[in-house]
């Protein structure tokens, strides 16, 4: 069975602030959904709700028909949804390999310590960090490690929070290729929350645009980019010229 993550009419209030006012989206295993919107539109909040880091005020989140909203994040990970942090949060006192091994031990796979270290080695070579495997994580903060850790949990749905932030030029191109390659080879369902338009348009088959906690447009990347409402609310002229 392929995994399917469905959020329906999800709302989230923080005190009097309505961060999300009823957003729905679906992420299927094997597909990439882009989530875009201006700063403060509720993207990261939605991602945190989907990952189980916070509870929605109302609405439902289901993985394969099973409710996950309200479960603690470590249980949600065990069911197969993993997120990355926008600002990498490696376990500083551990080596890169150990960082990934923890995820393999405690995620959906429940690997034994020895097997987990082997898994970690394989994953690190996939994300191109095999040479840094024995480096203490405090000495580097990179998104590849976040990515490897999320994959190591055994999740089938990955929620990537601005993994391309701060990258440009060749670095950006390499990272986009890496995520694209991993997604295709391993068949994950991926939700990319992103500011970097080039990344979203290259990777996603479907794009959801939220502004002030509401979905204002969704569809194929090209349609969304040319949607007048989207251009007005958020994209502006710069992205109308963006490479595709």
């Amino acid at each position: 069975m392929t995994a399917r993550l469905v959020a329906q009419n999800v709302r989230k209030d923080f005190g009097g602030v309505q961060a999300l006012r009823g957003v729905s989206l679906t992420v299927d295993e094997g597909s990439v959904v882009g989530l875009i919107g201006p700063n403060g539109s509720g993207k990261t909040t939605l991602l945190n709700l989907l990952a189980g880091a916070e509870k929605p005020t109302s609405g439902t989140i289901e993985l394969n028909g099973r409710r996950t909203d309200g479960l603690p994040i470590n249980r949600v990970v065990g069911l197969g949804i993993a997120k990355t942090y926008q600002i990498p949060r490696p376990f500083l006192a551990m080596t890169v390999r150990e960082n990934v091994a923890v995820a393999a031990m405690y995620g959906a796979f429940h690997r034994k310590a020895g097997e987990a270290r082997d898994d970690a080695g394989r994953l690190l070579s996939i994300v191109g960090m095999d040479r840094q495997a024995e480096t203490v994580a405090a000495e580097l903060t990179v998104q590849q490690l976040e990515l490897a850790r999320a994959i190591a949990t055994g999740a089938r749905i990955l929620l990537l929070d601005e993994v391309f932030a701060g990258l440009s030029g060749d670095e950006l191109a390499r990272s986009i290729n890496l995520v694209s390659k991993i997604q295709k080879e391993l068949g994950f369902g991926v939700l990319v929350v992103e500011h970097v338009m080039r990344a979203v348009l290259t990777l996603s088959g479907h794009v959801v645009v939220i502004v002030e906690g509401r979905t204002i447009a969704e569809g194929a990347p090209q349609e969304v980019v040319h949607d007048p409402a989207v251009i007005e609310a958020y994209l502006g002229t710069e992205v109308a010229r963006a490479p595709t």
Binding site: A51, A53, P72, I73, N74, R75, V77, G78, A82, K83, Y85, R89, P90, F91, L92, A93, M94, E98, A101, V102, A103, M105, Y106, G107, A108, K112, A113, A116, R149, A150, A152, T153
Partner: protein
């Protein structure tokens, strides 16, 4: 030379414990008493190391679990006619039970807030227990056990052996990875699937169990349980001092810390002019360690002397 299975630190500690276990019956009585007192320090250091060392949660309340162990032994012997060993087992059980019960509430707090709640628990226990007449009220429980140095010695010796073994087992398996992740970044640990609440509660329970058992043996050596000595905050501080000095969360650190803290304690009490100064000396030492080598002796050696990293853990 290769140590394929357990590693030199565990072999070294095992050797020390075996030597102590074999030699003690033949040593003069004064040395026996000192070794019992020393192993009580070691037992307390490893007990706190399970919680504060391995999860990073600082507890000022461990003297409470000691006190619970002491009162369990006292009540078991005085009321139920238990032999001392059974009293120690009861102390361990109640220490674990209270730790889990208290932990269910206090472990909802993190960092300094958790530390404060443990202090509150300590103050509450210190004030409540002397009011309970079933526990001897303000005058405590006198057991009249006589002097049983070898039985006391082998009981605390067994407790320490179990602690060292369990510390090794916990730090070398799956559990150890999860705990290091929690200590490093609890939220990120949950994000990769670590059930942080459960692991912390298990460790707090183990920690309370050993503090309870050690507290029971301590009461046994005094043949009495007194509210003042049963709930003495300096025991909490001494436990913290030992693991900070030796290296929190390490296998060897609590043992080293116990040696370093025990020596001034023992020596200063025999010299009239130094009497009472041990707390000042240990306090100053903890300050210096915290300022200059916050990972303690073992952590610092591992960091700066890579060749020893394989031998010291």
């Amino acid at each position: 030379m290769r140590f394929p299975t357990f590693g030199p630190t565990l072999y070294g500690l095992a050797l020390v414990m075996v030597v102590l276990g074999v030699a003690t019956p033949f040593l003069p009585i004064i040395v026996k008493v000192q070794l019992i007192n020393f192993l009580l320090f070691v037992g307390l250091a490893y007990a706190l190391n399970f919680m504060t060392g391995l999860t990073g949660y600082v507890s000022f309340g461990h003297a409470v679990f000691m006190g619970i162990g002491a009162y369990a032994l006292g009540s078991g012997i005085d009321r139920l006619g238990f032999p001392p060993l059974l009293g120690v087992i009861l102390g361990a059980g109640l220490g674990a039970a209270f730790a889990v019960g208290i932990g269910l509430v206090t472990l909802r707090f993190r960092g300094v807030y958790f530390a404060i709640t443990t202090l509150v628990v300590f103050l509450a226990a210190k004030n409540i227990v002397p009011e309970i007449s079933e526990l001897g009220g303000g005058s405590g429980i006198f057991m009249n056990l006589g002097f049983q140095p070898l039985a006391e010695f082998y009981t605390i010796w067994t407790i320490v052996v179990l602690e060292i073994g369990l510390t090794y087992w916990v730090t070398h398996g799956r559990l150890g990875y999860g705990l290091r992740a929690i200590k490093s970044d609890e939220d990120a640990a949950k994000t990769v699937g670590v059930n942080a609440s459960r692991l912390k509660l298990i460790l707090f329970g183990i920690s309370g169990m050993f503090a309870g058992a050690t507290g029971a043996v301590y009461a046994w050596t005094l043949s009495a349980v007194l509210p003042d000595t049963g709930f003495d905050i300096t025991y909490s501080l001494r436990m913290l001092a030992m693991i900070i000095i030796g290296g929190a969360g390490t296998l060897l650190g609590p043992f080293l810390g116990a040696v370093i803290v025990y020596v001034p304690y023992n020596y200063f009490q025999t010299v009239q002019s130094l009497l009472g100064l041990q707390l000042a000396v240990i306090g100053a030492l903890v300050l210096l360690i915290a300022l200059f080598i916050p990972t303690g002796i073992v952590g610092t050696v591992r960091r700066y002397v890579p060749t020893l990293r394989r031998y010291v853990e």
